[in-house]
């Protein structure tokens, strides 16, 4: 059975059908890319899985249980974490605190423990901190060391994107939803993050669904590509299948999807 299964899902905003009768599934250990032109409904799709928007009709089933009616925090607790397209870090909290607070639903110390500094409180704090540092060190030396105690707002753009991913990882998810993780990065940075996305599966055991516009990234990491347009799935399959699908080409206004890729390959 699939890890995440979405059946006949629709969302309307007023009169706008942001998603129409969407069917979708992810199997454990897969890396799936969701692509589509601007405004296709990709982010809305993520918002719905993570519980920030309630679908008008349809069902979302994660590991055999329906997610409908759950709060975003409960969805996260079930094991789905996400990043945001327009980086939304806790800018005035330190880098370490950003990944510490993300472990909220995996920990349970309350007021009593904090006030009396109980043994379990201290060991839990220690564990939260250690796991936070472990997650951060996944990105090399960029987010650790003296950076740990700096506010997230001092980070460079690429590092903010990395911290977004780290924060989502810190919630100890099983399924990771990445909304345009390399947007705004330069080619070198994005190639590096692409490699890391592969390692997210191999080393951390996450299943990944990723929205991405950068076709070279999509091609390099995805097992499967799903194309959305006007809220509907218009194609799915391997990268090559999708890239040559006439419907997809049409959706991108007649511009071949591969043109990005071609440009990339000519550059060096």
């Amino acid at each position: 059975m699939s890890m995440l299964e979405i059946r006949d899902l629709s969302v309307t905003f007023g009169g706008l059908h942001a998603l129409k009768n969407l069917n979708f599934h992810v199997d454990e250990g897969e890396i799936v890319s969701v692509i589509g032109p601007n405004g296709a409904g990709k982010t809305t799709f993520f918002n719905m899985i993570s519980g920030m928007i309630t679908p008008t009709t349809g069902d979302i089933v994660f590991e055999g249980e329906s997610l409908l009616g759950l709060d975003p925090s409960q969805v996260t607790e079930r094991g789905i974490a996400r990043t945001f397209q327009n980086v939304r870090l806790f800018a005035n909290m330190t880098i370490l605190e950003n990944v510490m607070v993300a472990q909220h639903c995996r920990t349970d110390q309350r007021v009593f423990g904090a006030l009396f500094q109980t043994k379990s409180f201290k060991s839990e704090e220690e564990a939260i901190r250690n796991y936070g540092e472990e997650v951060l060190s996944f990105f090399g030396s960029r987010l650790v060391g003296y950076r740990l105690d700096q506010p997230a707002s001092v980070l460079s753009y690429a590092n903010r994107r990395r911290l977004e991913v780290a924060r989502a990882m810190a919630t100890r998810p099983r399924l990771l939803l990445l909304d345009e993780p390399v947007a705004g990065m330069n080619p070198r940075e994005s190639a590096e993050l692409t490699a890391l996305i592969g390692r997210l599966r191999s080393e951390w055991g996450f299943t990944v669904v990723m929205i991405e516009h950068d076709m070279s990234v999509v091609r390099d990491v995805s097992d499967r590509v799903v194309v959305l347009d006007h809220g509907e799935t218009i194609a799915q399959g391997s990268y090559d299948q999708v890239a040559n699908d006439p419907k997809v080409i049409e959706a991108y206004l007649g511009r071949p999807v591969g043109s990005d890729v071609a440009a990339e390959e000519e550059a060096p």
């Binding site: 993570s50 519980g51 920030m52 709060d71 975003p72 925090s73 996260t76 607790e77 974490a81 996400r82 945001f84 939304r88 806790f90 800018a91 005035n92 909290m93 605190e97 510490m100 607070v101 993300a102 472990q103 909220h104 639903c105 995996r106 920990t107 110390q109 309350r110 007021v111 423990g113 904090a114 006030l115 500094q117 409180f121 839990e124 704090e125 939260i128 506010p151 707002s153 001092v154 980070l155 460079s156 590092n159 924060r167 989502a168 919630t171 330069n186 080619p187 070198r188 940075e189």
Partner: protein
Amino acid sequence: MTATSDNLSMLEAPGINWRRQIRFALVGGLSSAFIALAGMPVGLDGRNIIRPILSMGYLALLWVPFVFASLAGSVVILEGMTERERDAKDLAAGALVGLGSSSGLILLMILIQNFNLRDPLVNWSPQLLNLLSFDRSIGLGMLLWLILGTTLGLLGGAMHVVPGKVRSRILAVALAVFAVSVLETFLTDLLEGFGLEVLTDFVYYKRGGLEVLGAVVVAALTLMIPLMVGSKIKDIKTRVVEMPNEERRRVNLLLLTVCAALMLVLPFFLGKITNELLANVGLFVLLALGLNIVVGLAGILDLGYVAFFAVGGYTTAVLTSPNSPGFSPELPWPVALIVVVVLTGIVGLFIGAPVIRMRGDYLAIVTLGFGEIIRLLFLSDWLSGWFGGAQGITNIPGVDVGIGTVKGTDPRSVFLLVLVFCAIAIYVSWRLEHSRLGRAWMAIREDEDVAEAMGVNTTNTKLMAFVVGAVLASFSGAIFSAKVGSIFPTSFLMLVSIIILVVVIVGGMGNIVGVIVGALVLIGVLGGPKQPGLLQEFSQFKLLIYGALLVWMMLKRPEGLVPNVRRTRELHQEEFLQDAWLKGEIDTDDHEDSP
């Protein structure tokens, strides 16, 4: 590359902006006239700053030309610019602004003499005219203002001409003299406790204010002390900063213990008035610490915070007073306190539950409403069988602590009790801020949706903030009840909520030390909603000054007096601090992109 940066550093900041000077001159004139008509000069004339030269009343007017002139002359130096050489033109600009400021007063004098606008403007009076003309003829008064304004403006402008060191010395002296004069009640009280009346008798005039000689001594000391110990303090500071973490923590702990011990013995050296004053400050510190958790940490703008203070106060009254109209178990205070804490926590839950579903402006307005509802319930006839309506509850006994009773007639004991609870509140705030709950609060303050998406149950977490805030306020209410001995709905006006909020904002949101400093400055010096501060003369202008202070803070120092590092960055939108390592990386990437 280097050529351009050289060119940049050659750029000089622009010359004097005469339009700006004229604007400041006009605003200065308006401000002077406004202050005069607000009644400050006459109202504060009785209080000496330096006898017989300067009274608070005149000071209320005299600062204007000086401060406005120096503000008008300050320019923002952008990076890559060098500051322009200051010269006589700056003095002239200052004098112009000063002249403008005093012209406002001169114009006012002419108007007062020729028209009668006493009806709308209460302070449009012969006394004001008299004061403005220095009890002499009007013509002479005008001439004097002309000279004084221009001279002070000139001095204000000169602040930019003299070297920075001189400037800071001058400001330090002015501030020190003002502070020593203003803190008279406190200092005499303190020195008396140590048997050093000689000193204060020498420095102070019997009926308030410094003697001229006293002022000179204070000024001289301000100049000399930094010379003698300044370098030593710097030495110690660098040594502490260079210490390894472990050792530094030990030093901090030692300092903290010494401070705590000092605070505990301090009340025994202070007189009644000062103890009373500090007890009031302490009550507000408690309230402000509680509100700081709600507003400063969790970012919930609660404008009805006084409700919890009221519930704490009333519950204590009902439980301990023999005069409680309905239910009167006459419990001892410590037992009652347990009930009070539990009950206020529950009220916090009940008020919080509907409120926290809202956000921003809506939430603020709803909390404002709840604050009033609670007060009106205590005032209502319907519940007067329980809470006594407008008559309130009287005869609330003091706190029996074994070795004595804490009650209002003995401010020292009240202050000690307040201190204990402040210590508890500080500990609670500090521990919670650095815990799982505190981080969740901050995440909600930063971005509620994202916090929720990262697994924080925002409903429960925000409710916890409400409850913890409510409990801290109930401490304050319980002590207030026992201290005053009687309790009425009028003690819990909306104004109290606003003042607590101002204390938090002025002190520095989300910062424990800031909140304490805020309470000391606002409640201690200016006074609380009903409690007098050190400057009792100010009490009728308290709200005006609060307002002015708040506006100024919002414009110039939105992070508060003692800034929280994080909030500072948020509010000043600092540019990203790109360190060398990052810059290096970005450079290499640039090269790859542009062959």
